[in-house]
């Protein structure tokens, strides 16, 4: 089970992101007979050989590991679809909306545990890596457009992992802009000239320490 992340480094650890993504639903084709599971996270099954059913990814992976099912890769995990996505990503500065929020984690889990269920797995994998690179490059160029007037940033279709990676940078950058922009910190020339000596005024110091 994933450990607690250090909140100072990044908000969610890779394990925690995977944990969140494991609740996404996938289709499986079981090869065993088992009664329905009434879990805390919901009711799944019953499981009948060759009858497709929907389960969360963690359950699918657990069954797959024991050789009890095959996983139907989601529709977007195919050479055709991913090639289209890659083209769309290359053509436009906008992020494609065709990928799920957790596409990195889902594809990683499937590559790790269900390679044999994905047709053309090598091609699919390299497509996803290319898409990741293109998207990252776009995020990076977007970030260059920041300036001191930026007080909110809107990003469409950014994925969970991408958010997590750029978050510390964006947060610090926006905060720095905010801080240097703040009128309280810009020394007022008039006030400086008749500055009284060392009054017990902690306000500026508090500002700086933050």
């Amino acid at each position: 089970m994933a450990g607690q992340s250090d909140p100072h480094l990044s908000l969610f650890s890779a394990d925690e992101l995977e944990f969140i993504a494991e609740d996404e639903m996938v289709e499986i084709v079981p090869n065993l007979k088992m009664d329905a599971l009434n879990l805390i996270s919901g009711d799944f099954g019953p499981f009948v050989p060759q009858i497709t059913t929907q389960v969360p990814l963690w359950l699918a992976v657990a069954l797959k590991k024991r050789g009890k099912c095959s996983i139907r890769p989601p529709e977007w995990i195919s050479v055709d679809k991913l090639t289209q996505v890659l083209e769309a990503e290359r053509e436009s500065q906008e992020m494609s909306e065709k990928l799920p929020f957790h596409y990195v984690e889902i594809s990683r889990l499937l590559f790790d545990h269900a390679r044999d269920d994905i047709p053309d797995v090598y091609m699919v994998r390299s497509l996803i890596e290319d898409i990741r690179d293109v998207r990252f490059h776009k995020v990076e160029t977007d970030l260059e457009a920041f300036n001191g007037r930026t007080i909110a940033v809107k990003i469409k279709n950014l994925s969970a992992m991408e958010v997590n990676i750029v978050r510390p940078f964006i947060r610090r950058a926006l905060q720095a802009f905010c801080k240097h922009d703040s009128p309280e910190l810009i020394p007022d020339p008039e006030r400086v000239s008749d500055r009284r000596p060392q009054v017990a005024n902690n306000a500026p110091r508090r500002q700086l320490r933050r």
Binding site: M1, A2, Q4, P7, L11, F12, F19, I20, E22, D23, M25, L32, M34, D35, L37, L39, I40, S41, G42, Q54, W58, L59, A62, L63, R66, K68, R149, I151, A152, V153, K154, I155, K156, L158, A160, V163, R167, I170, R171, L174, Q175, C178, S182, P183, A200, N201, N202, R205, R206, R210
Partner: protein, 229 residues
């Protein structure tokens, strides 16, 4: 804070998804993510954690019964995994709160609004923590300082405010997503006056991610209209 949600075109979720989003685990996951992302401590989810605790206990009993009865070990291990996941969420949720309490205990203890957000157990934890830390600070350092510098809350007697009490930084930036179309979000509040250009009201589309100052959307997080992530 001025915020008037407009009845937007909310897409009807298909029944399956709606059903899933209402499980307590799903709700706890949301509370967990919000708590992780928010700089300050949020309201404790008393009812939700009670329900989850009950479900965990019930499930523990079920798993025990099943394994005693020698039922299919595969299904037992799946029940156990589900149980582990729910327990992880609950523990992680409680721990983040404890981390925040430990960091900002004096601030929480003296701010009614924050104090009322704690659970009963957290209140008694905070009380013990503040007492112990205060005693420790006094015995090890403060009592040996000149009289004017003996407060654990202030640098010296001439300090105008409690300047030795760490406070969460509310003007930090968070990532958030709205469930519905929101308009009229006041981005800059407070006495910042050279920003008329920017303090125009802000709109939020559902499902789009925003990096935004926590202070501006605080009320919307508290009312559950916006999720942090």
């Amino acid at each position: 804070m001025a915020s008037s949600p407009v009845e937007g075109s909310s897409f009807p979720l298909d029944d399956y998804e709606a059903l899933l989003s209402t499980t307590d685990v799903e709700l706890l996951k949301r509370a967990w993510r919000n708590e992780k992302a928010a700089p300050e401590i949020l309201r404790f989810e008393t009812d939700l954690t009670d329900r989850i605790r009950e479900q965990i206990q019930l499930m523990e009993e079920t798993v025990e019964e099943k394994s005693a009865a020698g039922i299919n070990p595969l299904s037992i291990s799946l029940y156990q995994m589900d149980l582990d996941r729910a327990q992880f969420l609950l523990r992680s949720y409680l721990r983040i709160r404890i981390q925040k309490i430990e960091k900002y205990m004096f601030h929480i203890a003296k701010t009614d609004e924050l104090w009322n957000r704690l659970s009963r157990e957290e209140k008694s934890f905070t009380r013990r923590c503040t007492d112990d830390l205060k005693q420790h600070l006094e015995e090890s350092v403060l009592s040996k300082l000149p009289e004017n510098y003996q407060s654990f809350q202030r640098q010296s007697v001439i300090s105008e405010q409690d300047d030795m009490v760490p406070e969460p930084q509310l003007d930090t930036f968070v990532v958030c997503r709205s469930k519905e179309y929101l308009t009229g979000i006041q981005l800059e509040d407070g006495p910042v006056d050279d920003r008329q250009l920017l303090s125009k009201l802000f709109e939020m589309e559902p499902g789009v991610l925003y990096f935004i100052c926590y202070k501006s959307i605080k009320a919307l997080v508290e009312s559950g209209k916006i999720d942090l992530l």
